[in-house]
């Protein structure tokens, strides 16, 4: 057997192209290459640390370019703060959001973006319910949009669960319920009566809301805010239940731990809620208290974690503020009566 093979191999290696044959072939190939040149967009290569084929979403590069061009354009920038009913709103949704969404390549990135999209719809709702002149149909539309965006997030979580992707399912469910809770709290603190003197404390950062000033429609606005808060509360409830469900499913041992964590954060939030009720009861507190809470909420949202202690707030009534601060810390923890 060895002989056979050895012989075979020995002979085999003598087989090769003659010099002529080789150069002829080379010439043929060169001709072919000239006729079918390399695609020139190759020269626009992303620098060596990764190549185009590494990007799972092959559309990323041109999309990033168009995004840069777009956002540089004032039109899409102006569209960012619009709500349904505004003329530029379609640009916000169909252009800005489409482009930004397309950049999300992985399911994880898509999930993050979808939560952010839901937040954007929620911000629109918040803005509208605080606006006197908004039409009820528009407010309803905004709420319907919010519901749709929430459904998309839920579907995404369900898909992660189907794919046994516990990490992403948990993260998305957590992000979603946290986001909803933050906004629900913001809406809750917005509900108290707002009068003319708070005009100076209008909020310009997240959530994007405007404090209503004129009196006659204040009641209806307040009603809307309450309604919105209720709606968001339901979504939040639903989201939290789902999150707990997933936590139990994937981390049965840690169930108790997480429950304690949840209880703690609930306590913190309830502390704030009780403060709200206390505020409502006391007349003179209501005015600047609203501003206190709002600023607190704002800075909370900015740090994106609910905190037990309200951050010190710059207010005209410094002394009273201190009094209220101490009042807050003394307020006993109560249960959620909502």
């Amino acid at each position: 057997m060895q002989n056979t093979l050895k012989q075979f191999k020995k002979i085999a290696h003598k087989v090769r192209l003659t010099a002529d044959e080789k150069s002829t072939m080379r010439g043929e190939l060169l001709r072919y290459m000239k006729m079918h040149p390399a695609v020139s967009s190759q020269s626009i290569r992303i620098p060596s640390s990764f190549s185009i084929s590494d990007l799972r979403n092959k559309k990323t590069m041109p999309i990033l370019v168009s995004l840069g061009i777009l956002m540089g354009g004032s039109l899409s920038f102006a569209a960012e703060n619009t709500v349904p009913g505004d003329i530029l709103y379609p640009i916000k949704t169909h252009v800005n959001e489409t482009v930004r969404g397309a950049v999300a390549g992985t399911p994880k990135a898509k999930a993050e973006w979808e939560v952010r999209l839901a937040e954007r719809r929620l911000e629109e709702v918040e803005k509208l319910v605080s606006t006197q002149t908004a039409l009820p149909e528009v407010k309803e539309l905004a709420q319907a949009n919010l519901e749709k965006s929430a459904d998309i997030v839920k579907a995404r979580i369900a898909k992660f669960e189907d794919d046994e992707d516990s990490e992403d399912a948990l993260k998305t469910a957590g992000d979603f319920s946290n986001m909803l809770r933050e906004h629900e709290d913001a809406l809750r603190t917005l509900a108290p009566q707002v009068s003319a003197t708070t005009a100076t404390t209008s909020v310009t950062v997240m959530p994007v809301t405007q404090i209503a000033v004129t009196n006659p429609q204040e009641v209806s606005t307040q009603g809307d805010i309450e309604a919105a808060r209720g709606f968001v509360g339901k979504l939040r409830d639903n989201a939290e239940v789902r999150h707990q469900e997933l936590k139990k499913k994937y981390n049965p041992e840690q169930k108790i731990e997480k429950k304690n964590e949840a209880n703690q954060s609930n306590q913190k939030i309830e502390k704030k809620k009780n403060n709200t009720k206390t505020e409502r009861r006391s007349n003179q507190a209501s005015v600047y208290f609203a501003s206190t809470s709002i600023d607190t909420t704002t800075s909370e949202l900015m740090s994106s974690t609910p905190t037990a202690s309200s951050t010190p707030v710059k207010i005209e009534h410094a002394e009273v503020n201190k009094k209220e601060e101490s009042k807050k810390s003394e307020t006993p923890r109560g249960s959620d009566n909502d």
């Binding site: 087989v15 192209l17 290459m33 040149p37 390399a38 190759q42």
Partner: protein, 166 residues
């Protein structure tokens, strides 16, 4: 500049690998001209691939894969024939470089004749292993089979060779 680089790179691949691919094709197709055509076609297809900006991690393996596919197509196209028949009809030239001695040529022709009778898959595995010197792992990757299957085929091919020789 970058395109120039690619062309040069490609021609370098040709310098480096055209002989091995040719050899492989000869032993698979038992026909020098066909082997030359197949070799050229293999490189053309490689060019088509890389000129679109696609990256190739292992050029050698990739070339073998393309060649193997072309050979399989060729097998499917033609009917079974025997080497004897070909020799009678066409004065079969087995692709031997003229420099070498006549005896070796005879041995060579004999060896080729023998492997001609191997079933396609055995021949494929044998040639890749003992002509091309590819590892079983590489062969598995190129042909899309498991290493186990390849090992078995090589073994059986050798057994068959022995039997045929006798």
């Amino acid at each position: 500049m970058k395109i120039r680089g690619l062309e040069d790179q490609f021609l370098g691949w040709h310098d480096q690998f055209s002989d091995v691919i040719f050899r492989h094709c000869v032993f698979r197709l038992s026909d020098r001209e066909k082997a030359k055509d197949a070799t050229q076609e293999t490189f053309i297809r490689l060019w088509n691939y890389v000129s679109e900006g696609k990256e190739v991690v292992n050029v050698r393996a990739f070339l073998y894969k393309i060649a193997n596919n072309l050979i399989i197509d060729e097998y499917r196209r033609k009917e079974t024939f025997s080497l004897d028949q070909m020799q009678e009809e066409q004065g079969f030239d087995v692709g031997f470089d003229v420099r070498d001695e006549v005896e070796t040529k005879d041995e060579y022709e004999r060896a080729l004749k023998v492997i001609e009778h191997l079933p396609d898959k055995y021949r494929e595995a044998l040639v890749m292993r003992h002509v091309d010197g590819l590892s079983v792992k590489d062969i598995a990757r190129i042909t899309g089979e498991t290493e186990n299957v390849i090992s078995v085929r090589i073994h059986r091919a050798i057994e068959k060779l022995k039997a045929l020789r006798n």
